[in-house]
Structure formats: structure tokens, C-alpha cells
């Protein structure tokens, strides 16, 4: 037993830290219907991975800056081009990924770790990433505590929020910035392609089980942690990819709740 816990090592700490972000940011994403925006930032962030490889930059720094740039661009476009936002999101998604592929193609040598950035592996999370996760979790918590009522009011009825002079643009921009940071902190654990599933499924289940957004955030975080731990155990016993096991388990439970909620 202790040997297994030791094997999981950083993974369990990462799971706990990721669950905090998933609980809060995942819930904010869901109640605002921002999952497509978040997916665009996640996939587009691959450009930051390619740049890190090509220019030999620290991965977290490069991907963070690239994801933040995408978040700010999307925040700007949300208000500038609201009627064509869907197509702009898709283009940003594709351009980011294409840049990542081109820069990694241009980088000499074979890059076996590229797949890890796309699909992640929570068993290989380095200790340095844990510090990044702690910092992001603290920022997410502070933002949510400070602006909680604004976030909820805007998510429920944006037009009323604008009519009350609430800082809708600022909150929208900060939410996208925090989505970018939480995505980057999850890259090595779940990869750019799978991360959105884990930020969407626990909040969806929690939304059906709770009567307040605060409770939704807490329950969503707990569900995320349980799913990750259960997925790790399944991966250990069947000797399969931990990330894929976690996402498939989450998706199975999602289907049960989705069917039940209809």
C-alpha cells in the first residue's frame, strides 16, 4: 500500500492541487458556458510548447505567456466581434496548434516528450510544477473570494449586470486569464487535448447535485480528486495510461449523470 502511495508520489499532491482549480475555474467555466473558449485556449497553447522547444525556453514560462496572449485576444474579441466569435475561436484554436507543430518540426532532433504535452501523464509531474500549481490555486482563490457575487451575477444574466454597471469586461477578461493559467498548470498531468474534459465533467455533475455555486465548486473539486485517484488505481492495476483511464472513468460517470438529468 505504502509502496503504491510512494509510486504515485507527486501525482496525489498534483491531483489535490488540480482539484482546487477544477472545482473553482471548472465551475465558473460551466456556468458562463465558456468551455469552447477554454478548449480554444488549451489547444492553442500548443504554440507555446513549440516555441519553448524551438527557442529552448522553459516550458511553463513559454506556454504560460502564449496561453495568456490567447486569453487576452479572446477576451478582446468577445466584445469586439460577438457575432463572429465562434469562427474566431476556431481559428485561434487551429493557428495555435499549427504554430506548435511548425516550431517543433523546425527544432532539430526527435522530441519524444511532445506526446506528453498533448496527452499528459500525471505520474510524471515534476516537483517544480507543484509550486506553479500552488501559486495558481492561490490566485484563483483570491479572485473568486473577491469577485464571487459579480461572477455569479454576470453568469446568470449578463444584460442585467451591464445595466447595473458591474465590471463585466474586467471579470470576463480575468476569468479567461485564469482559465489560461489553470490549463497551463494541468498540461503535464492531462495534456492540452484531454484537459478540458476534466475541467468540464466534475462541474457538470456537481451542478446537478448542489443548490449553490459555492457548493458546486466544493463538490466539483471533491469529484475531480476522487476521479483522478480512482483513475490512477485503475491505471495501476490494468497497466494502462493514467490520463486516459481518468478521462474515460470521468466520461462514463458523465454519461450516467447526463442521461439522468434529461
Amino acid at each position: 500500500m505504502l509502496a503504491i502511495i510512494d509510486l504515485f508520489g507527486n501525482s496525489l499532491i498534483a491531483a489535490a492541487l488540480l482539484s482546487v482549480a477544477i472545482g473553482i475555474i471548472g465551475s465558473i467555466m460551466l456556468i458562463n458556458r465558456y468551455n469552447y473558449l477554454a478548449a480554444s485556449i488549451a489547444h492553442g497553447s500548443y504554440g507555446g510548447v513549440g516555441l519553448a522547444l524551438y527557442f529552448s525556453l522553459p516550458l511553463l514560462l513559454s506556454t504560460t505567456l502564449f496561453a495568456l496572449a490567447l486569453a487576452l485576444l479572446l477576451a478582446f474579441l468577445t466584445f469586439k466581434e460577438p457575432k463572429r466569435l465562434d469562427i474566431l475561436i476556431s481559428v485561434i484554436w487551429a493557428v495555435g496548434m499549427s504554430l506548435g507543430i511548425i516550431f517543433s518540426d523546425l527544432t532539430p532532433g526527435y522530441h519524444s516528450d511532445l506526446l506528453a504535452y498533448l496527452f499528459g501523464d500525471i505520474l510524471l509531474v515534476p516537483s517544480s510544477d507543484l509550486y506553479y500549481m500552488i501559486v495558481v490555486d492561490i490566485i484563483v482563490l483570491l479572485f473568486t473570494l473577491r469577485y464571487f457575487h459579480y461572477i455569479i451575477a454576470i453568469a446568470y444574466d449578463k444584460e442585467f449586470a451591464i445595466a447595473r454597471n458591474l465590471p463585466v469586461k474586467m471579470i470576463h477578461t480575468l476569468i479567461l486569464v485564469l482559465i489560461a493559467l489553470t490549463i497551463v498548470m494541468s498540461i503535464r498531468s492531462f495534456g492540452l487535448i484531454l484537459v478540458i474534459a476534466l475541467f468540464s465533467i466534475p462541474p457538470f455533475i456537481a451542478e446537478k447535485l448542489t443548490k449553490s455555486v459555492q457548493a458546486m465548486m466544493v463538490v466539483s473539486g471533491v469529484i475531480a480528486f476522487l476521479l483522478i485517484v480512482a483513475g490512477l488505481w485503475i491505471a495501476y492495476f490494468f497497466d494502462i495510461s493514467a490520463t486516459a483511464a481518468i478521462i474515460l472513468l470521468a466520461s462514463f460517470i458523465f454519461l450516467l449523470f447526463f442521461k439522468g438529468s434529461k
Binding site: I31, R33, R146, Y147, H149, Y150, I152, A153, A155, Y156, D157, K158, E159, F160, A161, I162, A163, R164, N165, L166, P167, E207, T210, K211, S212, V213, A215, M216
Partner: protein, 243 residues
């Protein structure tokens, strides 16, 4: 009587074609205005201009001698039903309290909770406060949203289709409630037969504005439903029908 809203030769267009043309009107303090007109005639655009959510292409609007975007805090607003995210796990009390938020106020004080309780009593929704907003019936939700609009302590109340998808009994109750409120009221609605009870003036908007000083006449629906233009003809607004 002091004027609450002054509209001076207002024009608005989204693209090339004008949605609203040369609209001028003055609404005085405590006046009750009903806005009617066909779909796409510019009613909701007019409301958005009053709220400063849209900027006039030409002309101007003054609300208590200032621009709409600077006077938003004076306005209680109930948007159309279509905008709400009903999946959010949010209790009715939290929705009403949203009316107490402002650009400078991101939390709630004891006074806000007192206002909540008082509104809940007056609007007979105390039993709904702990319920999820998405689980309320259409009528219950509209009462909660009316409470949120009133929680802002407005001088002007603007309601955009407040009784859409609400049963007849609740429609009557909501309009009865509106009549009792002592503030400037602007209500956009299709529920003409009930809406017109107690209003001071009727604004018929179909690109242009036709104002009618309301007289209390008995309006009968033709073959079970109202045609707004026919109604306006009955009210004396023959220009609207010729347009």
C-alpha cells in the same frame, strides 16, 4: 412635474436601415408608460437605448439630465426571459440580492438583507427564497426578477416583456402589483388587455413612435386575439396603421 426621461430626435440603426427614426418624447416622474408594437418594430432596441446598452446613431436621451450610461443606477431593469442561464445552482434569494450589487459594491450588508426580506414579504415570495431559480415556475421566476429590479431602489423601472410565458392569473397579479408601485414605470408587453389597465400613456413603436394619451375604453379582441395595430386604431392611432 419633473421630467424623468427626455428623448430628442432619436435615430438608431444596426446596419444600413434605421430601426428607430426621429423619436421624441418626454416621460415625467411617476408616469406609467406602456410600450407596444410589432416584433422587430424596435421596442427592445428602444429599451436598450434607455439603459445605455446601445448608443444612438443620432439624437440624444437624457435621464434626470444626464446620459443613460451614467444614470443606470437609477434604473431597475427586468430583461426578457431569454437571457437567463437557468442551469446555475442559484437560489432565488441570491438572484434578488444581485440587485444590490453595483460598480462600487461587490458584497452585501445587513441593509441589503433587510431589503431582501421586505421585498419578499411585499411580493409574496418569501416561501421561494431558498428554492433554485431554475426550478421555479415562469410566474414565480418573474416575481423574483421583479424583486431583483426593485432591490436596486430605482427611480425608474423598465420591464421588457415581464409576463411572457406566464399564466393569465399571474399576469394580472404582476400588473396589479405594478400599478401599486409609486415610481416611473416603462413596460414593454404583448399582454395588451391587462397591461393597459392603469397606464398613463401608450407608446406604439414601429420604427417611429406614436404616442397615445390613454383613455379608459373597453377593448375587445377580434376573434380571440389582439392585433396591436387594430388596438392602436381603436385608441385613435390611425397613423400607425397607415404606416
Amino acid at each position: 412635474m419633473q421630467s424623468a426621461i427626455k428623448i430628442d430626435h432619436l435615430y438608431f440603426r444596426y446596419d444600413k436601415e434605421y430601426v428607430l427614426e426621429d423619436i421624441s418624447a418626454t416621460i415625467t416622474d411617476n408616469e406609467y408608460i406602456a410600450i407596444i408594437g410589432p416584433n422587430g418594430g424596435g421596442k427592445s432596441t428602444f429599451v436598450k437605448l434607455l439603459l445605455g446598452l446601445l448608443t444612438p446613431t443620432k439624437g440624444k436621451i437624457e435621464i434626470y439630465n444626464t446620459t443613460p450610461d451614467k444614470s443606470r443606477e437609477l434604473i431597475g431593469y427586468l430583461p426578457q426571459n431569454i437571457h437567463f442561464n437557468l442551469d446555475i445552482p442559484l437560489q432565488a434569494r441570491e438572484v434578488i440580492l444581485q440587485g444590490r450589487l453595483s460598480a462600487k459594491k461587490r458584497g452585501f450588508s445587513d441593509k441589503d438583507f433587510q431589503i431582501l426580506e421586505s421585498l419578499a414579504q411585499n411580493l409574496h415570495i418569501a416561501h421561494l427564497l431558498d428554492k433554485k431559480i431554475g426550478e421555479l415556475s415562469g410566474g414565480e421566476r418573474q416575481r423574483v426578477l421583479l424583486a431583483r429590479a426593485l432591490a436596486t431602489k430605482p427611480k425608474i423601472l423598465i420591464l421588457d416583456e415581464p409576463t411572457a410565458a406566464v399564466d393569465f392569473k399571474t399576469q394580472k397579479e404582476i400588473y396589479q402589483l405594478l400599478q401599486e408601485l409609486n415610481l416611473t414605470k416603462i413596460v414593454v408587453s404583448h399582454d395588451i388587455n391587462i397591461l393597459l389597465q392603469g397606464v398613463d400613456r401608450v407608446f406604439y413603436i414601429n420604427r417611429k413612435l406614436y404616442i397615445h394619451e390613454y383613455i379608459d375604453i373597453d377593448i375587445k379582441p377580434k376573434e380571440g386575439h389582439f392585433c396591436e395595430m387594430e388596438l392602436f386604431e381603436q385608441l385613435g392611432g390611425e397613423h400607425a396603421c397607415n404606416h
